[in-house]
C-alpha cells in the first residue's frame, strides 16, 4: 500500500441552481485504497462523488466551483475534456443499470467506444478479463450472448463493475453499489472491492456503516453538505472527534 495521493479536492462548492449542496469540501484520496463516504441522506455524498468524474456536468443547473486534481492535473481546467476523464474515472451506480444488451455487449461497450481493441479477439480478451476481475466469469461464461438484464441483481451490479473495469480506469467511483442487493450478493461485491483495490483507487458511498468499516481504509463523514470529519476508518468508528460523527455512527441521527 502506497501513501501516494491520487485525488486532491480543494474548496469544492456545488450548487443546484441557487441551492448550495456542498460547502468548501477539501480532502485527499489515496491511491489504490478504498475511501468511503458516509452521512445521512441528502448530505451531498452522491453530489461529491459525481464531482470526481464530472457527471454533475450533465445535470441541468448544476455548478461546481473549486479544484479537483487527479495526479496533479485539475480536471476542471478549461482544456480538460470530461468525456476523456470519465474513461479514467469509472462509475458504478446505486441501482444496477446494465444496458438492455447481451452480457458481452455490455462489457464491450466501453472498449469499443474508446477503441481499446483493434480486433474481435482482443475485444473478447478484454471482456473476459474484465469479467474475470469482477469475479463473474465462472457464472456467465456459457451465456455471454444472453441479455444482461436477465441476470440477478447482484450479478447485474457485478456486470456494471466489469463494464467499468473494461475501460481500464484508474479510479472507480461507487454510489451505494450494494443498496439494491441482498446480503449474499453484497458480500460478493465487498469481496470484489477488496480485490480491486490492489489495482484501482476506489471511492464508495455507503449507507451501511458496517460496510464502510469492513471495506475502507479511510472514511469521510458528510453532514448537510459539509465534510465534517475525514480520517482513518478505524479512527472514525472508534474515536470520532466530532459530536455529529459520533451521533451518526451511534445511530442517534440519520
Amino acid at each position: 500500500m502506497s501513501d501516494k495521493i491520487k485525488i486532491q479536492v480543494e474548496d469544492v462548492n456545488v450548487f443546484y441552481g441557487d441551492i448550495q449542496a456542498l460547502f468548501d469540501v477539501t480532502l485527499d484520496i489515496k491511491s489504490k485504497e478504498i475511501t468511503s463516504l458516509i452521512g445521512p441522506s441528502g448530505c451531498g455524498k452522491s453530489t461529491f462523488l459525481r464531482c470526481m468524474n464530472r457527471m454533475n456536468d450533465v445535470i441541468d443547473g448544476c455548478r461546481v466551483e473549486g479544484k479537483i486534481t487527479i495526479d496533479g492535473e485539475n480536471i476542471y481546467d478549461a482544456d480538460k475534456d470530461p468525456v476523456l476523464l470519465r474513461a479514467r474515472v469509472g462509475m458504478v451506480f446505486q441501482k444496477p443499470n446494465p444496458f438492455p444488451k447481451t452480457i458481452f455487449e455490455n462489457v464491450a461497450y466501453g472498449p469499443k467506444i474508446h477503441g481499446l481493441a483493434s480486433n474481435t479477439s482482443e475485444l473478447r480478451e478484454i471482456v473476459e478479463n474484465s469479467l474475470e476481475q469482477a469475479g463473474l466469469m465462472d457464472e456467465v461464461k456459457d451465456r455471454l450472448n444472453d441479455s444482461a438484464t436477465d441476470l440477478s441483481g447482484g450479478q447485474q451490479q457485478r456486470i456494471c463493475i466489469a463494464r467499468a473495469i473494461a475501460v481500464n480506469p484508474e479510479i472507480i467511483l461507487m454510489d451505494e453499489p450494494c443498496s439494491a442487493l441482498d446480503p449474499i450478493a453484497t458480500a460478493r461485491v465487498e469481496e470484489l472491492m477488496g480485490n480491486l483495490s490492489n489495482n484501482y483507487t476506489i471511492v464508495i458511498v455507503t449507507h451501511s456503516m458496517q460496510q464502510a468499516a469492513r471495506v475502507s481504509t479511510n472514511t469521510a463523514f458528510f453532514h448537510l453538505g459539509h465534510l465534517v470529519e475525514f480520517n482513518a476508518t478505524k479512527q472514525i468508528f472508534t474515536n470520532p472527534s466530532d459530536k455529529r460523527t459520533e451521533d451518526y455512527i451511534t445511530g442517534k441521527v440519520g
Binding site: 441541468d60 468525456v83 479514467r88 462509475m91 451506480f93 438492455p100 444488451k101 466501453g110 475501460v167
Partner: protein
C-alpha cells in the same frame, strides 16, 4: 315534455331518492342500534341508481324506437295510397309527409293532408305516452328501492357491481360501433364485387370509374383496377415518410438529449403549432406553393415535373407529420431511463454515442410503433392530396409525375351526383375497405414489431 325536461325530472327524483335512502337507513340503524353493512352514502347511491337507470334507459329506448316505428306504420299507409311507388320513392314520400305534418311544406293532395294530420296526432300522442311511461317507471323503481332498502343490504357491493357493468357496457359499445362500421363498409363492398370481379379490382392496372350514371346516358362502362390508385397512395406516403422520419426523429433527439430547458420550452410548443394547423391549410400550401416551387425547380434543372406531382403532395404531407413523429419519439426517448444514459456517459461515451448506442436501441420498439402509426396517417390523409395530388390514375414510381390516391378517389366518387347503387359509388366502399385493411395490417405490424423488439430489450 322534451327529452331534456324529462331528464331533469329523472335527475331530481334520483337526487331525492339519494337523500331519502340515507335518511331511512340512518333512522333504522339508530333506532335498532345496528351497524349498516356499508357507508351510508352507498345506500344513497344505490337508491339514486335504481331511480335513474331504468327510467333513463327507457327514455332513450323509447325516443330511439318510436320514430322508427311511426315511419314503418306510415310507410305502410303510404304504400296503400301509392301502390306503384318503389321503396326509395316511399321514403321520399314519407319525408314529404313529415314536412307537411310540421307545416313546412304544403301539399294539395287530400290523401296526403289527411295522413299528415294523422301523423301529427300520432307524434303528439307518442310524446305524451313517453312522459307517462317514463314517470311511471321512475315512481315505481324509486318507491320500490326505498321500501326495500335496509341496513343489512350490501349497498357497497351492489354499487361496485353496477359500476363494473357500466364500464363493461362502455367497452362493448365502442367495440360494437367499430364492428358496425366495418360491417357496413364490407357489406357495400360486397355489393360492388357482385357487379365487378374482385380480382380485376385488386390486380387491375387501369382505373377509370367514369360510367353512365343514368341508363339513358352514353359512356364507357368503367374500369376499376385499383393498383394505380393504391400505388399512388403508397408513393405519396413513402415521400412523406422520407421527409418526416429524419426530421421528426432528429428533432426529437435534439430535444430530449441536447437542448437546454429553455430551448426545449421553445421548440416543443412550436412543433405543437405545426400539429395544430388544419390540413386544409397544408392542402393549399401544397397546391399553391409547393407544387409550383417543385415545378420551377424541375424546369431549371431541365426536368419535367408535373404541376400536381407526387413529390409536392408527399413533401407537404411529410411536413404535416413531423410533429406527430417528433412528439411520439420524444415521449418514447424520454421514457428511456436516465440511469441507462448515465451508465453510458459514465463510461466516457459522448452524448451522441449514448443516443446511438443506448437510447435509440432501447427506444426502438416505441419508435417503430410511432413510425407505423405515422404511415397509417399518411395513407389515410385526405385533404392535402385532394388539393395537391392528381386525379388521373398513373401506375408509376416516378415522384415527379402526378398520381392519385385512394382517398382522393373516394372523395371524387362520392361528391357531386351519385346514385347509390351504381358500381361507381359502390367502388368507393371497396376502396374504403382496402384502405382499412392496409392500415389495419400496418397497425398489427406496428404492434407485433414493437412487441418483438421490446422482448429483446426488456
Amino acid at each position: 315534455m322534451d327529452i331534456f325536461d324529462i331528464t331533469i325530472v329523472i335527475l331530481a327524483i334520483s337526487t331525492a331518492s339519494y337523500f331519502f335512502a340515507v335518511k331511512k337507513i340512518t333512522k333504522i340503524s339508530n333506532t335498532n342500534d345496528i351497524r349498516p353493512d356499508s357507508i351510508l352514502s352507498y345506500y344513497g347511491k344505490i337508491a339514486a341508481i335504481w331511480a335513474f337507470v331504468p327510467a333513463f334507459s327507457l327514455l332513450l329506448f323509447y325516443s330511439f324506437l318510436s320514430p322508427i316505428f311511426s315511419e314503418m306504420v306510415f310507410i305502410e299507409k303510404l304504400s296503400k295510397i301509392f301502390p306503384e311507388h318503389t321503396e326509395s320513392q316511399l321514403d321520399l314520400a314519407f319525408a314529404q309527409l313529415q314536412n307537411v305534418a310540421n307545416g313546412i311544406l304544403e301539399n294539395p293532395d287530400i290523401n296526403i293532408n289527411r295522413l299528415a294530420v294523422e301523423l301529427k296526432s300520432w307524434d303528439e300522442t307518442s310524446l305524451a305516452v313517453r312522459s307517462w311511461v317514463v314517470f311511471m317507471l321512475l315512481a315505481i323503481t324509486a318507491l320500490f328501492s326505498y321500501s326495500r332498502l335496509t341496513p343489512k343490504f350490501k349497498a357497497r357491493k351492489t354499487v361496485e357491481s353496477f359500476l363494473q357493468k357500466l364500464f363493461l357496457g362502455a367497452a362493448v359499445v365502442a367495440i360494437l360501433i367499430t364492428i358496425a362500421i366495418v360491417a357496413s363498409l364490407l357489406f357495400e363492398a360486397l355489393r360492388f364485387f357482385e357487379v365487378y370481379n374482385i380480382f380485376e379490382f385488386l390486380f387491375g392496372t387501369h382505373w377509370s370509374p367514369n360510367i353512365a350514371i343514368r341508363d339513358d346516358q352514353v359512356g364507357s362502362s368503367g374500369s376499376f383496377g385499383m393498383l394505380p390508385v393504391l400505388s399512388g397512395t403508397l408513393l405519396i406516403a413513402l415521400i412523406a415518410m422520407m421527409v418526416a422520419l429524419p426530421i421528426g426523429i432528429f428533432s426529437a433527439i435534439y430535444m430530449t438529449e441536447f437542448a437546454s430547458k429553455g430551448v426545449r420550452d421553445f421548440i416543443k410548443p412550436t412543433l405543437e403549432i405545426l400539429a395544430g394547423i388544419p390540413t386544409v391549410v397544408y392542402g393549399f400550401f401544397a397546391a399553391l406553393m409547393a407544387a409550383p416551387f417543385f415545378r420551377s425547380l424541375g424546369l431549371s434543372l431541365g426536368m419535367d415535373v408535373s404541376s400536381e406531382s407526387a413529390l409536392a403532395a408527399g413533401a407537404v404531407m411529410g411536413i404535416m407529420i413531423i410533429p406527430f413523429i417528433s412528439s411520439l419519439s420524444d415521449d418514447v426517448m424520454n421514457s428511456v431511463p436516465q440511469s441507462l444514459k448515465d451508465g453510458s456517459i459514465g463510461l466516457g461515451a459522448t452524448k451522441a454515442e449514448t443516443v446511438i448506442n443506448v437510447v435509440l436501441p432501447a427506444a426502438l420498439p416505441g419508435l417503430v410503433g410511432a413510425f407505423l402509426l405515422a404511415v397509417s396517417r399518411a395513407i389515410g390523409e385526405t385533404m392535402i392530396v385532394v388539393m395537391a395530388a392528381g386525379h388521373a390514375a398513373n401506375l408509376t414510381a416516378n415522384p415527379l409525375e402526378a398520381v392519385t390516391t385512394v382517398t382522393v378517389q373516394i372523395v371524387s366518387l362520392l361528391t357531386g351526383d351519385t346514385v347509390f347503387d351504381s358500381p361507381k359509388t359502390l367502388s368507393a366502399f371497396a376502396l374504403g375497405i382496402t384502405l382499412f385493411v392496409v392500415t389495419l395490417l400496418l397497425n398489427i405490424g406496428a404492434l407485433t414489431v414493437s412487441r418483438k423488439l421490446s422482448e429483446k430489450y426488456d
